[in-house]
């Protein structure tokens, strides 16, 4: 039997703007047990098929608002908590996006609950197909 689902299997898409594909996006859940302010998400690192995304190309969207990782450092409003069990949408700028067919994603969530002497580092991996 399979373990818990981290990624939304229907959440992998290329992003289009004015007829050009400018990147890709996916959705995943925080690997922690309560809702958190985005300020304690200390990093998100992404590799697709072994290719690492640049930090500045990453945006995280919760409750309809997109933030860069740099901006997330100060986001503490209740409206933008990453709720427990909710998907956040992550977008990555990449000219041409991802090709049609099978891919492998490996993302690292680094979350720092204040009471822990260490950070929660969750490696999130899955295979997916880009339609």
């Amino acid at each position: 039997m399979a373990g818990r689902q981290i990624y939304n299997p229907n959440g992998f898409h290329n992003m289009e703007k004015d007829g050009t594909i400018i990147g890709y996006e996916f959705q995943f859940k925080a690997q922690y047990y309560r809702g958190i302010t985005l300020s304690i998400v200390r990093d998100i690192q992404i590799e697709v098929d072994g290719e690492a995304a640049a930090r500045e190309d990453i945006r995280v969207t919760v409750n309809g608002e997109a933030f860069t990782l740099e901006e997330m450092r100060t986001v503490i409003d209740p409206e933008y908590r990453w709720e427990f069990g909710d998907y956040a949408t992550v977008s990555v700028k990449k000219e041409g996006g991802l090709s049609k067919g099978s891919h492998h994603i490996k993302a690292l969530q680094i979350i720092a609950p204040s009471y822990m002497p260490f950070q929660v580092e969750a490696v999130c991996e899955t295979d997916f197909v880009m339609e």
Partner: protein
């Protein structure tokens, strides 16, 4: 001494069902009631969306108290998280932290809780600075005593000194029954085997645990640097020697995971409950796996409940299921069934049936 031991469920227990969307907050309350528990413990940040905004509204509170009435539950404990490193470039000042603690005390009171759990990382000054407000709000602050910490230790003495010095009736301890592990939980061993651990290495780790139990665990010291305190504690309890033995036996990542994780469990004498009963008003009944025979594989439920009886405990034992974290990587977790079994195991121990 006469005792009044009641059963509660911490909704932390149902986190896997909640994560999957199989249970929402009301669903968790419904499941809690089905187990026969009469108390409910809440992590507001886990199951109240847009925390803390809804708690400020009459509409949400009416719904909350409506549910409690419908399912016959009493609020037992509010679990607070003092996010004192909410920003990555500094720790909140003492005044900011006290204000955050007061906010949580107020939210707890709004939802009908008279006990609030605070975590081991809470600075003493923050607790002391919140005591007057806690008294005003009729909320007791309980410091969680979670492995590797223990009662009757240098760590606990610091807090005891504060209780005696201030004479407060609004601060005490919330023991987590994970401090009463006779064995390493079976689910951790299952996970290690699933990852490919060697039986020889598992035996080295299990034997080392049994030896620590026999000799008595060396207790952890008080230090705000929890990482440092924890590492000293591990070394004092023979971690280095054990890791070397596992390595010599050809241990790989699965074996090292099992060996390292074994230090997150500990054993205290149940007598510690009796010695500290004047300062215990709520308890986390941590558990990892209860079999079909209603036996917990690690926590010594009957012995600990016996100590609570002897001590004349008046309060809740609140089921806190934590076995799921070892299973969810490779199978679906059934917290609902685990909590049901655990409540029955506690009922038998309390009622002596």
């Amino acid at each position: 001494m006469s005792y009044d031991i009641k059963r509660s469920v911490s909704l932390y227990s149902y986190q896997d069902e909640y994560y999957d969307g199989r249970l929402d907050l009301e669903g968790c309350l419904k499941e809690t009631a089905k187990t026969g528990a009469t108390g409910v413990e809440l992590l507001a940040e886990q199951m109240i969306r847009r925390f803390p905004l809804p708690i400020e509204t009459q509409e949400f509170r009416d719904q909350w108290f409506g549910w409690l009435k419908e399912y016959g539950l009493e609020p037992s404990c509010y679990d607070a998280f003092l996010e004192n490193r909410i920003y990555d470039n500094r720790t909140l000042t003492l005044k900011e932290q006290v204000n955050m603690m007061k906010r949580d005390i107020r939210l707890a009171a709004l939802l009908g809780f008279h006990n609030l759990r605070t975590l081991v990382s809470t600075p003493m000054d923050v607790i002391e600075g919140s005591l007057e407000y806690a008294a005003e709000q009729d909320v007791k602050i309980g410091l969680e005593v979670h492995a590797p910490f223990s009662l009757n230790s240098g760590w606990a003495d610091g807090y005891m000194e504060m209780i005696l010095r201030t004479g407060t009736k609004h601060f005490g301890f919330i023991p987590d029954m994970g401090i009463f592990c006779k064995n390493i939980p079976s689910v951790l061993r299952d996970k290690a085997r699933n990852m490919g651990a060697k039986e020889e290495c598992i035996k080295i780790v299990d034997d080392a645990y049994a030896k620590r139990l026999e000799k008595g665990f060396v207790k952890i010291k008080y230090d705000l640097d929890l990482g440092k305190a924890n590492m000293e504690y591990r070394m004092a309890n023979g971690m280095k020697e054990m890791m070397e033995a596992v390595e010599q036996a050809g241990g790989g990542p699965a074996d090292m995971m099992y060996a390292g994780s074994s230090f997150t469990y500990s054993w205290s004498e149940p007598q510690d409950i009796i010695d500290n009963i004047d300062y215990i008003f709520h308890t986390h009944a941590k558990f990892y796996h209860v079999g079909e025979d209603y036996a917990e594989t690690a926590v010594a439920i009957p012995e600990v409940v016996e100590a609570f009886k002897k001590a004349g405990y008046q309060g809740y034992l609140s089921s806190e299921y934590e076995g799921g974290e070892h299973l969810r990587g490779y199978m679906q977790v059934d917290s609902v069934e685990q909590v049901r079994r655990h409540q029955e195991a506690m009922r038998r121990a309390i009622e002596g049936a």
